[in-house]
């Protein structure tokens, strides 16, 4: 969970502090700083949540807290 919150903080705020530096790198035709805000961070959020849901489920099961 703490890992999740750190990842969240990094992709929400951390990476965008460096937008000017990242904009000099070009990724798939996009300046990278712009890309991270427009798509990169969003993709990370979605993937993160699916992973979180399945990991947490695994923990619940192994600790005997699962619902069924």
């Amino acid at each position: 969970m703490i890992v999740m919150m750190l990842l969240w903080a990094f992709f929400s705020f951390g990476i965008h502090f460096f937008v000017k530096e990242l904009n000099t790198i070009v990724f798939m035709g996009f300046p990278l700083g712009f890309y991270m805000a427009a798509q990169g961070s969003l993709i990370v959020f979605v993937v993160m949540l699916f992973i979180f849901a399945s990991l947490q489920d695994g923990i619940d099961r192994s600790e005997g807290f699962a619902e069924d």
Binding site: M1, M4, M5, W8, F11, S12, F13, H16, F17, V19, K20, N23, M28, G29, F30, P31, G33, F34, Y35, A37, A38, Q39, S41, L42, I43, F45, V46, M48, L49, F50, F52, A53, Q56, D57, D60, G64, F65, A66, E67, D68
Partner: protein, 670 residues
């Protein structure tokens, strides 16, 4: 009887996939049919009506089929909604008329800085999934204030939560009904007021009979319409321009072209280096502080908006609640990561138009279409008659007679609505976009209305006024309140209140400051107690409200009181003093009013704490809320053993729901 009902419900749930696949297929067939009709010469107006009425009729039918007389079904859809579909419904619930219509336009105007909205409105779901939703689901509440009441012992905390809920939801729902009015009057040439009440009927048919159950299944249907309507035009554009139907991948090229055109326009004197904001350059509109503050407030606000949180009460299990947040974000993501592509493609079109040296006398037709309703201005006047625009431009010194970027003023709503026309697509696509915008506005309005009406009927009426009411009475009261709230919201919308619309952005800060600290600490900190939570909510919400109202409506006195905390430049302060002197010196009423207006408008730009814009007011309210709860809780007695055990139980998915309702079994039968 009750069992037969349950079996019927189970059938429906297991057939969901087939039902909605059929529905989606039917919708595509319908679009194709109208496209053929257009080719055969059916007038545009009929096609527009066809779209709007047929889609609303479908939602209404779903709403009526899902009518219910069971309290559990009415409030939480019987807790039977699978995570995938709850995700879709949350997506529709979340994406308002403004997201659908205005988001791409905001990105068009602000470039990089507009991405704060995209980031804030998606990242918030991470907070929902990790910190809040699964625990609220385990709690087994019907409404968000339910949780406050159980965790923080009783009526007062519940009442505070209801106040915060209503103050952030009511302006929001009014704006949704307003949006349905705008879209219907634009595409159907209806009178605006008539359109607002027509929208109201659509909303009521979806929500009144079946409560949460009906709203859930119509929202799923509305999501399908809105996402198809949003994606199709950009996919066509991307294919036209770059030959690849994946706009999200190809707009990198569009952005490179935009950057090239920006330089070319400045070189040709068609754009002013001062007013042109390069698309990819950050921090031109918001400084970094405001950019990050906005992201932060939108994220936390997302994690506290009651109409979103209550969607996670409807899943069958806690596991599904978590999965369903992930699906929600996925479905929202589909739209939000397309919006920047939308903005880039339409900016490319407009820049190309300007760069080619378009004469003022030869403005394209779409500018007239939207100019007539006041959404496109050139040289400061609406583009409605060619001569008026030419005259206005001639008055500007050294005007070259060609359209320049600084001459053009496009309302953010136009970008999405006009893209099909700008790109020369058939009318059927424009009708589709209108139906999508309506679906977005209607679905959000449904969710919000239900949140308000449920808070009033469940939290105020049942829990505080008449705890012995039978299930039947409760449902009748719930429906009557829903009707009253809906009519009040529609009436407010029909007066076209400019203030209400600008206040929508406040909802996020208010929810964040009023609800989030008590909610998060309530789940995660056993020691948080009643006095702490109550004080924290009052102070957090109060400070946030004070900042919002102070900087917006009492900017002059706010600035004078807090100038030592502001960041106004010496020049701006100088200007403030000059304007103030002018106001004091002004003689008659009219001059005084005019001078005050100038002073007030200027004060609004400088009244602040540390230069934070009022849209991010939660930046102050939120820490104050957290701090107050922690300090006051530590100063007073710890919560009782039962409450602490209850918090422990919330964290463990296994076991029974914590709150049980007398009438969970339902009253059975119809």
């Amino acid at each position: 009887m009750a069992e037969a009902q349950k079996a019927g419900g189970g059938d429906f749930i297991s057939n969901l996939g087939r039902i909605y696949t059929l529905y989606t297929g039917g919708f595509f067939g319908f679009v194709a049919l109208l496209a053929v009709a257009e080719q055969m010469g059916v007038p545009n107006k009929i096609i527009g009506y066809g779209f709007v009425f047929l889609t609303i009729a479908v939602y209404a039918i779903i709403g009526i089929l899902s009518r219910t007389s069971d309290v559990g079904e009415y409030y939480v859809a019987g807790r039977t909604v699978p995570s995938f579909y709850n995700g879709m419904a949350t997506g529709a619930d979340w994406m308002s008329g403004a997201s659908f219509v205005g988001m791409a336009g905001t990105l068009f105007l602000l470039g990089y800085d507009g991405l704060a909205f995209v980031l804030g409105w998606t990242g918030g779901y991470v907070l929902v999934a990790v910190l809040i939703a699964p625990f609220l689901r385990k709690f087994g509440a019907y409404t968000v204030p339910d949780f406050f009441s159980a965790r923080f012992g009783g009526g007062f905390a519940r009442l505070l939560a209801v106040i915060v809920l209503i103050s952030c939801s009511f302006t929001y729902v009014t704006a949704q009904i307003y949006a349905t009015g705008i879209i219907a009057s634009r595409f159907l040439d209806m009178d605006f007021t008539v359109a607002v009440y027509a929208g109201l009927v659509g909303i009521l048919l979806c929500s009144m009979l079946g409560g949460m159950k009906a709203v859930t299944w119509t929202q799923v249907a509305q999501y399908i319409v809105l996402i198809v309507a949003y994606l199709l035009p950009v996919i066509i554009l991307s294919t036209q321009k770059f030959g690849i139907p994946v706009p999200q991948l190809t707009y990198g090229q569009a952005i490179a072209d935009i950057t090239a055109l920006e330089q070319s326009m400045i070189a040709k004197g068609l754009a002013d280096a001062k007013t042109l904001k390069p698309h990819i350059q950050p921090f031109l509109t918001y400084d970094p502080l405001n950019f990050f503050a906005l992201i932060f407030c939108l994220m936390v606000g997302t994690a506290s908006l009651p109409h979103i949180l209550m969607r996670y009460f409807t899943t069958p299990t806690i596991r599904e609640a978590r999965g369903s947040v992930a699906w929600s974000l996925f479905f929202i993501f589909l739209l939000y990561f397309t919006a920047p592509a939308y903005a880039a493609f339409s900016k490319l079109e407009v820049f190309t138009l300007i760069n080619n040296g378009t004469k003022i006398a030869e403005l394209p037709q779409w500018m007239y279409t939207y100019g007539k309703i006041g959404l496109v201005k050139v040289c400061g006047v609406d583009v409605s008659a060619a001569q008026a625009v030419i005259d206005a431009c001639n008055k500007i010194a050294n005007h070259p007679g060609l359209l320049r970027w600084q001459d053009l003023n496009i309302n953010t709503d136009v970008i999405v609505l006009s893209t099909p026309e700008i790109a020369g697509m058939p009318y059927v696509i424009a009708g589709l976009v209108a139906a999508g915008g309506l679906a977005a506005a209607l679905s959000t309005a449904d969710g919000l209305l239900l949140a308000i009406a449920n808070a009033l009927s469940h939290d105020i009426y049942y829990k505080m006024v008449s705890p012995n009411a039978s299930a039947k009475t409760r449902l009748v009261v719930a429906r009557i309140l829903l009707l009253i709230v809906a009519v009040a919201a529609a009436y407010t919308a029909s007066t076209k209140p400019a203030d209400i619309l600008s206040m929508v952005a406040w909802a996020f800060s208010l929810a964040a400051a009023g609800i989030f600290p008590a909610l998060a600490l309530g789940v995660w900190w056993k020691r948080a107690n009643t006095p702490g939570a109550v004080m924290g909510m009052i102070l957090g919400f109060g400070v946030c409200m004070y900042y919002l109202v102070g900087t917006r409506y009492f900017a002059v006195s706010f600035h004078e009181m807090w100038s030592w905390l502001g960041t106004a430049s010496p020049a701006a302060v100088e200007k403030f003093n000059t304007l103030k002197a002018a106001w004091l010196a002004a003689g008659d009423e009219a001059a005084k009013a005019a001078a005050w207006k100038a002073l007030d408008t200027h004060a609004q730009t400088i009244a602040s704490w540390w230069g934070v814009r009022n849209i991010s007011a939660a930046l102050f309210g939120l820490p104050i809320g957290f701090l107050t709860i922690i300090v006051v809780s530590l100063m007073t007695a710890a919560p009782s053993k039962e409450v602490q055990d209850m918090v422990d139980a919330t964290r463990q998915p296994a076991g029974d729901l914590i709150m049980k309702d007398k009438a969970t079994g339902g009253v059975g039968g119809h």
